[in-house]
Subunit: 283 residues, 2 copies
Amino acid sequence: MSSVKTPYGRSKSYPTPEDEVEVAVIKISGNIIDDEVKLAAFLEKFAKIHGRKIMVHGGGKLATKMAEQLNIPQQMIDGRRITDAETLRIVTMVYAGYINKNIVAQLHKHKCNAFGLSGADGDAVWANKREKGAIDYGFAGDVEAVNRDLFITLLNAGLTPVVAPITHDGEGQLLNTNADTIAQELARTLSYGYDGYKVTLVYGFEKKGVLLNVEDENSVLPVLTAAHYEQLKEEKKIFAGMIPKLDNAFAAIDSGVKKVIIGQAEELPALLSGDSGTTIIHE
Amino acid sequence: MSSVKTPYGRSKSYPTPEDEVEVAVIKISGNIIDDEVKLAAFLEKFAKIHGRKIMVHGGGKLATKMAEQLNIPQQMIDGRRITDAETLRIVTMVYAGYINKNIVAQLHKHKCNAFGLSGADGDAVWANKREKGAIDYGFAGDVEAVNRDLFITLLNAGLTPVVAPITHDGEGQLLNTNADTIAQELARTLSYGYDGYKVTLVYGFEKKGVLLNVEDENSVLPVLTAAHYEQLKEEKKIFAGMIPKLDNAFAAIDSGVKKVIIGQAEELPALLSGDSGTTIIHE
């Protein structure tokens, strides 16, 4: 904080880079949600992160299992679920209900004041139903805006938001939405402006980071630049599932997010300290 | 607000009865949640209530239906569900997921800034697992405390809390909890203290109010006093299901809640204006 004396003898303060509020946005995916033991260990680590933090979680296999048990056929195209009305009901129950509330209850056990929400709650994440193209994704949402004020209100109240990947269109319709994109838009929104937060965005997934050789878990790239990413794509060394994730990561860095790291959620403290995973940098 | 001049020339303010913040706590039960058309009409009316408001919702038949489809046998004793581990999973999904998020999304359509939560979120409602007595209710919770500060933070942020009847024990365990009791404890907690809110608590259920003759929908008592209630119980004119609800209602009045009304949620504006339902008064 830099102080300037005003004519009235009181000092007026302007924010300086040192004043920036830090926040960690941690996204976890199905591989950790589906494994009770891994999830419990991860949550204990997450609870211990000092300072402001937000979790965004994906879905996992429970929704697919529930759909099977209820005889609701599931259609996946390129790893994306086609969300018909019955499937929307299931993902709303499983993601915003079962997974979200279990994560929240466990975090409280570790003295983390977690607060679960979907994108509908307090208009946290507003989305548009994806338009029918060659594929009709059904009730899938594309993020339109993240409610910055709401997240800041929750953080300032000492709460740790835990976000389920269900959004709404503001007209009463819930929408199934990609959690990677929610995490990216959230990180971007919080970084925005002269009073923006200093955001670290972590994408937790099943690999130890971006692999140079997908067969070799030890070929993790410690750093990935935009130019190198383009080159690896051309050389077809980075494939299908990774591309949307990395596109999200670079979009985040390009829009003011301070740090983006991709790696195994289990290694959370090492990811944040830069000792594990791949750090995404623009230059 | 009454003002007093202090020696420093600045006035100091003390709250007076006119300053009391008003809040309406509205509990709705299964009969309205299960009926899509009735629910939609109710939510439109709820959204129009001026000022601060909170909704507490019960469960409805969807959980029972889901349990049937998933072949999980349900046991009910005296109208209370026995919550085994599988059933807890279902009620968490259905109450805190499907029902809660659909209500929230619909309220936003009507420009009500709804925010859904369970008792685990932000430690909103802390409960103890009911001890095994003659009956083992399983993962059923008895409310220990409602987090007054959290609800006031949400209300002050312009949000309308929508509470699902799932609580937690602070040790990672979710618990299925009676929504009438949550509503009562919430109303009581908000009323408490010299800066307590002026709370109106509405119990919406399937009847038009407390009936003098259960067969006659037109025998609604406009007012019920504690003495009259005792008399009606002795005369066996008030039965099983009504007794815990009325006990909750009188407990609320006895602990400082300003107004308690029981009636049909569909008639919400008339309930609040005193033109419908039964008003519970102590004397």
